[in-house]
Symmetry: C2
Subunit: 459 residues, 2 copies
């Protein structure tokens, strides 16, 4: 986001976003129509806040975006029992359509106001319909859409009601360029889209043709801002928290996980794999501690509240089985605590990143960038980050407790030299892939698309 806003301040761009706080909503309703100027890295950029009615926001955000699309793209359903679609889905879908339309209309309006040729960057699954709606409002526009999540395969996406599945796919196809974090997500989209009537796919050139238009499918793995993050970690507050954590760990090695409390993050299996590790490697008992920093997420959804309780229970089980008065094997801290996470990144020996499926996963980059102990990254093969970082991590199948437990043991027992080499390589990957590169890739795609549109006319 920072990188995107930085780029926008260079070109005098405008960012349209939903007002979330009550204050922002008032601004959105105010005389300036939610428009304001913000300072950016190089110049200013404009913002326009949209006043999305609260009840509509619930259907749009909680039910469709996070209750259906997120579940589909991360394969989270207990398919034999869930999902069950009924009339309630229709109302929520109308909300999703309405909010997407509100965005598309605001974007078209602002483009009109700003004048000149315009290019649009639309972000994520919450706004999957915007490209097509915008295309209808501004047939001359150059439009890119970027997906930050995993993307469901062709077969699994058929779980979603036809209207929603086709709506989302055709909505995204309104763009000139579609961006994804990894090849698997891009291919899953290509295969789903080509199953629609009237859509042809050229898999080798990674593009789709529909309604006489070409849609390029591109891979741009996102990264974090290394200098910004290092600056954030260099504060006295973070140093103080690091000292606290070092006292807490004592002589123990530290296994760390930092995650949203999110179904796809696979927190319970992480604790169970740790238990298996302690069971099969008793020599490590009383010499290691597992710290889980979990920030609460989507507590409006009952699945998330239940899962939170299961996570705490799984941690408690490990403590009951292996702990004693002198040694508590796991500690779970559930709160938003960015300075605490930055402090913990500095001092872990093992960072466990084991999502079921994950679009990218930024923790797998933040940790290695800030770590100072040659800590080892244990990384799920199903995270987008695996395609970039996998070579220097210990790769695991997140469903396989044994492989995960062995990776933890391997990480703890790895010779210092190998640890340092892997850690250096991981940090280098983060440093050499700054987010500006991700933004530049998208802007170049847009430029190419604009030139292509200049050559080819729609029929």
């Amino acid at each position: 986001m920072t990188a995107l806003l930085g780029a926008m301040s260079q070109v005098g761009g405008l960012w349209v976003a939903a007002a979330l706080s009550e204050g922002d909503r008032e601004l959105a309703r105010g005389p300036a129509g939610g428009r304001m100027e913000m300072p950016g890295a190089e110049g200013t950029y404009q913002v326009r806040l949209l006043d999305v009615p609260e009840d509509r926001y619930d259907g749009y955000y909680n039910r469709i975006s996070n209750g259906i699309l997120w579940f589909a793209h991360h394969y989270l359903w207990d398919t034999v029992r869930q999902p069950v679609f009924d009339e309630a889905v229709d109302a929520a879908w109308s909300d999703y359509v309405a909010v997407n339309r509100q965005f598309a209309e605001a974007l078209a309006e602002e483009a009109e106001r700003l004048g000149g040729p315009c290019a649009f960057l639309v972000q994520d699954y919450h706004l999957a319909l915007v490209p097509r709606m915008l295309r209808e409002l501004r047939p001359d526009a150059t439009i890119a859409h970027f997906s930050h999540t995993a993307i469901a395969g062709l077969t699994y996406l058929r779980i979603v009601p036809v209207k929603i599945r086709e709506g989302v796919l055709r909505g995204m196809l309104g763009a000139d360029v579609l961006g994804f974090h990894s090849q698997m997500w891009a291919e899953n989209f290509l295969m789903s889209a080509r199953s629609l009537p009237g859509v042809r796919a050229d898999l080798l050139r990674s593009r789709l043709v529909t309604e006489g238009r070409e849609v390029a499918v591109r891979i741009h793995p996102i990264s974090i801002d290394p200098h910004g993050l290092r600056a954030e970690a260099a504060t006295p507050e973070v140093a103080r928290r690091r000292r606290e954590l070092n006292r807490w760990r004592g002589d123990n090695r530290l296994i760390l996980r930092v995650d949203r409390l999110e179904l796809s993050k696979n927190i319970v299996r992480g604790f169970r794999a740790y238990a298996l590790f302690l069971r099969t490697h008793p020599e490590w008992r009383r010499r290691v501690r597992f710290l889980a920093l979990l920030s609460p997420s989507r507590m409006d959804l009952p699945e998330y509240r239940e899962y939170g309780a299961e996570c705490l229970e799984a941690a408690e089980e490990v403590n009951r089985e292996f702990g004693d008065e002198a040694w508590q094997p796991v500690e779970v801290r559930v709160k938003d605590d960015h300075p605490g996470a930055l402090a913990a990144y500095g001092i872990y020996d093992v960072l466990l990143v084991n999502p079921i499926f994950d679009g990218m996963n930024l923790v797998a980059m933040e940790g290695p960038l800030l770590n100072r102990r040659g800590g080892v990254l244990v990384l799920s093969r199903n995270a987008g980050a695996y395609w970039r970082m996998g070579r220097h991590a210990l790769a695991i199948n997140p469903f396989d407790l044994r492989e995960t437990a062995e990776a933890i043991a391997h990480a703890l027992e790895m010779p210092r030299e190998e640890r340092l080499r892997r850690a250096r390589n991981l940090a280098r990957l983060v440093l050499t892939n700054p987010p500006e590169r991700w933004v530049r890739g998208q802007l170049e795609d847009l430029e190419r698309a604009r030139r292509r549109r200049g050559r080819i006319r729609s029929p």
Copy 2:
């Protein structure tokens, strides 16, 4: 199977199968080594029964084949919680490898004994490793493998432990030809296989290249034997059962489902959709009955026992909500009752076939072939049969109760003429696609593969 054995009796083939009953096991251990001659449609064919040790059979069949591969290919896991792989999987996988090896060795041995050039037809996910093992034993062999199930997409298959996923994919790649029931399953295999190092895919020509060999991927939707089934349905026993069922239904229209009691068959959502139909179409109460004929299946697996209880409970809920002394909306009969199913096929008004995912689904063919009332087929878009029969059925998303409930209403209210036209078209599709055609397709594939192998030498 009948069609395959018919074809084998024409060419004097030999069928290798695992002994299941105690009697068969004794034969397998006997002096003839489990070999015997069987009468076929045209001549005889040979059988060789294999004595698979019972404890090994459990790991092979219950744990790997039905506990992992079946779940993966039908997307049945509650991914946030299941599966969890641990050491037990390794032992079961060794069993699976050992049984597959037993089959491969027996096949190679019999081919040696019979002499001459030999071709092998390997059936289904239980024997996924046989093609590769056989290739190693008989590099000159022509080998086909046919998958009767749905096939997991690239992403979902990554849930399975690496060793099993790669073992199964590379095992199947040992064949010259791989057969599937529908394009979706074939494409899912192609996409998974091409993600392996050293495998190239030509998606347009639907083939894979690995180790200097070509593997053709072909689609052959299976069918039922229409004349055999009609003969079975023409017995006095079936006629008697039909009269009984007609008395039971009285003046009610009949909604029917016939299924194994199987997680993928989506039985609970079927009842819930029926409840929604009764709720939103009260005019149909006391005018319709739902008969569910369920044959017990895989009761060795706890998931199946639990699901059976959930199915009965869901039916009971419908009866509690809508039933009274004079009218019971649903009846569930759990037993193996082939004559009962044949009788019911004759007299349904609506046949509900709503699997979550299904390789093909033969009920969707048996019903329309035997039905005499212009009954309507309500069919899941995720069943292989949908690609063949979908046009003449009412298509549903099996997760969408509302769409399913509306399809039931639509079916019951459809004008007689349209009903009859659809029913005729469905029956014609079954009659014009006899299983001999499915067998012939596979044999032609094998012949093409044999000629190709004659031209191209492995490096």
